[in-house]
């Protein structure tokens, strides 16, 4: 992969973004539809002088990343929905220990083994993950250049806040090839920033520890409060969204993320041709969710259409933001169903006539 205009696959873009961001440790395990990531990493990582390890399960992948991160490395693992379920223990431990890492979930249909078709059924497990009181930053790309950009950004975000960052993609974005213009001249800002907390040997300095077990009365409560302070800072600094079509004073707003947002852009054109003006609100950070921006945008429209490739997960956060359930119309396709732009338009037309 080079710089400039090129045809690349979403999964490949993730690999190159990670390498460009200075990631030199990758652990992964086979699962469709993200296999191109470990397969490409298996030869690209050694080329860049890094370490590629195929683990014996996703549980092992995430805990290898735990170890690599604790040692100060920029580390990454990738998987798809059932594999992310297996990683949840490790993600919680990393959140507790404040270890940075980048995780990628190329979502497929569920529950259980489900299927290997694109789905957004893991919004909950990305945005409201694991056990204990914690958050991880979740970024949702909706095209291939964002698969590159968000993965690249994720490493600095992870280091800046000592937090796991998840890229929430899906089988469509992983497998899709798109002609993109990549800017590969960017340098990761925090690549060489010191990590004084890392376990790099206590020679010449005081020993330090990274733990998530805090048994003294009040110690864990204090740790949770400290984490919360960090989470509030992230909410303030890093909440991102895209708002499109508002300059035409639309009567209706579509709220969608990832692949559904991509499809919704087609729906907006069809609706415009039919004389129905729509705007699009696309959360880029799913956590922190852009509640305030959505609340403001929703004030200007009659209805908010929420489109997801699941049976209603992000819609819960949309409800919280909008604060008026009568304004919200939800349409979802579960189990690997991918709606067409026309299908979403028909739903809108059925509700606005």
């Amino acid at each position: 992969m080079t710089t400039g205009k090129q045809l690349i696959k979403g999964n490949t873009a993730i690999v190159e973004a990670a390498l460009d961001a200075g990631c030199r440790f990758y652990a992964g395990y086979p699962i469709t539809p993200q296999n191109e990531i470990p397969e490409t990493m298996s030869w690209r990582m050694p080329e860049e002088g890094g370490t590629f390890i195929q683990a014996e399960s996703e549980l092992i992948s995430i805990n290898m990343v735990f170890g690599a991160s604790a040692a100060g490395a920029r580390a990454m693992t990738t998987s798809s929905s059932p594999g992310i379920s297996l990683m949840q223990e490790g993600i919680s431990y990393m959140a507790g220990c404040e270890l940075p890492a980048v995780l990628v979930n190329v979502m497929r249909g569920g529950p259980g083994l489900g299927n290997i078709a694109p789905s957004q059924s893991d919004y909950f497990q990305a945005v409201k993950p694991g056990h204990g009181d914690f958050h991880i930053i979740t970024l949702a790309p909706h095209n291939i250049s964002e698969m590159y950009d968000y993965t690249f950004d994720a490493f600095d975000l992870a280091d800046k806040y000592r937090i796991p960052v998840m890229i929430l993609a899906d089988g469509l974005l992983g497998q899709l090839m798109e002609n993109v213009e990549l800017d590969r001249s960017r340098k990761p800002a925090l690549l060489n920033a010191p990590k004084p907390w890392a376990l790099t040997g206590a020679s010449g300095r005081k020993g330090q520890r990274i733990v998530s077990l805090l048994m003294q009365p009040g110690a864990l409560e204090k740790h949770n409060m400290d984490l919360n302070e960090k989470y509030n800072l992230i909410k303030k600094n890093e909440t991102r969204h895209e708002l499109a079509g508002m300059e035409k004073n639309p009567e209706y707003l579509i709220a969608a993320f990832g692949t559904c947002a991509r499809i919704s852009k087609g729906t907006m054109n069809i609706a415009a041709d039919a004389g129905i003006k729509t705007g699009l609100f696309r959360p880029i950070t799913l956590w922190p969710f852009p509640y305030e921006a959505l609340k403001e945008a929703a004030k200007k429209v009659k209805k908010v259409f929420v489109f997801e490739m699941n049976l209603g997960q992000m819609v819960e956060d949309v409800r919280l933001a909008v604060g008026d359930d009568s304004k919200i119309e939800f349409y979802g396709r579960p189990g690997g169903g991918v709606p067409t732009a026309e299908e979403l338009f028909e739903f809108i037309r059925g509700k606005v006539k």
Partner: protein, 308 residues
């Protein structure tokens, strides 16, 4: 023990029309297992080619009760079913003699499922675990597993300019199972029908935990013609890379000793996955020495465990 001809005369419990590749080995393994059982049998299957190709909803190729669970869980799920059966038996609600078999590929058995397999064997559930070993994660696109042999090219251990494929020897899972001190552990290959069926028949008559590792060539993963399955599953035995043996209550028995032990290269040159390895004499010598040492050790184990 039956011949394939005799087995063909009885009703097969795995129907044709499933979507395994032409020449795939595991349907043969399934038939060897199921035709060796004269009792009602319940099958549990881990995620993998076997499950995916035989159970495409709303169809099933299985004419026996069949339950699938995730990759790492077939031994655990089978433990649960067998536990429920024991409970029903104690309560007097069931009196049939039912057999329980869990199937997994090498990915689901050697790697992610090893913990649940070890637990099931140690607890001594009255079940048989059958690993069909095709030496890589074939269902997801030929990634390396801990059963993949050294020098085999896979999509996550690809042969290139610097290395010629996987750089580690395969894990010896059969010996790990022997170390569990269960009543019966065996290694066989799909191409030796009488040996395989004899072992499965014997295992079904033994109460307690049983483990059988069956060698199972893969057409696309190995880069071979569809006609080569049986031939290669026997050829590997003649190189002593995959010895045919059983361990019954701690006693080893090598069931087949090749009249002429072939060099490992005889096996490698038949498959695309070893193309790069064949150019690396040092690596081949390393493998040959390792195979020779393992074969010698196995013969010593047979001798040692059969002393009066």
């Amino acid at each position: 023990m039956s011949s394939p001809k005799q087995a063909a005369a009885v009703e097969t419990k795995l129907t044709g029309g499933h979507r395994a590749c032409a020449g795939c080995a595991f349907p043969i393994a399934i038939k060897e297992v199921l035709s060796s059982c004269k009792y009602p049998v319940v099958v549990v299957n881990a995620t993998g080619c076997m499950e995916v190709t035989t159970t495409i909803f709303p169809f099933t190729a299985w004419k026996v009760p069949f339950l699938h669970n995730a990759f790492e869980n077939s031994a655990a799920t089978c433990s649960g079913i067998e536990g429920a059966y024991q409970s029903l038996k104690k309560q007097g609600k069931i009196d049939k003699n039912i057999k329980f078999v869990a199937f997994g590929g090498d990915g689901g058995t050697y790697d992610i499922g090893l913990q649940s397999l070890s637990g099931a064997m140690e607890r001594g559930h009255d079940m048989m675990y059958v690993c069909y070993n095709n030496e890589a994660y074939m269902n997801t696109g030929v990634q390396r597993s801990s059963a993949t042999p050294r020098g085999s090219s896979t999509t996550t251990a690809p042969a290139g300019k610097v290395i010629n494929g996987k750089q580690q020897n395969p894990k010896d899972l059969t010996e790990i199972m022997v170390a569990h001190n269960i009543p019966y552990v065996a290694q066989t290959t799909v191409g030796m029908w009488p040996d395989a069926t004899k072992k499965f028949e014997k295992a079904f008559e033994i109460t307690g935990a049983k483990f059988v590792n069956i060698y199972s060539p893969c057409i696309p993963g190995w880069g071979i013609e569809t006609s080569q399955t049986i031939k290669l599953s026997k050829l590997v035995v003649d190189t002593c890379m995959w010895p045919i043996y059983e361990v019954e209550n701690g006693k080893y028995k090598i069931n087949y000793k090749p009249a002429t032990k072939l060099p490992v290269t005889e096996f490698y040159k038949t498959q695309a996955r070893f193309k790069a390895l064949l150019k690396d004499e040092a690596q081949i010598k390393l493998i040959q020495d390792w195979v020779d040492a393992k074969w010698a050790r196995l013969q010593l184990m047979e001798e040692a465990t059969n002393k009066a």
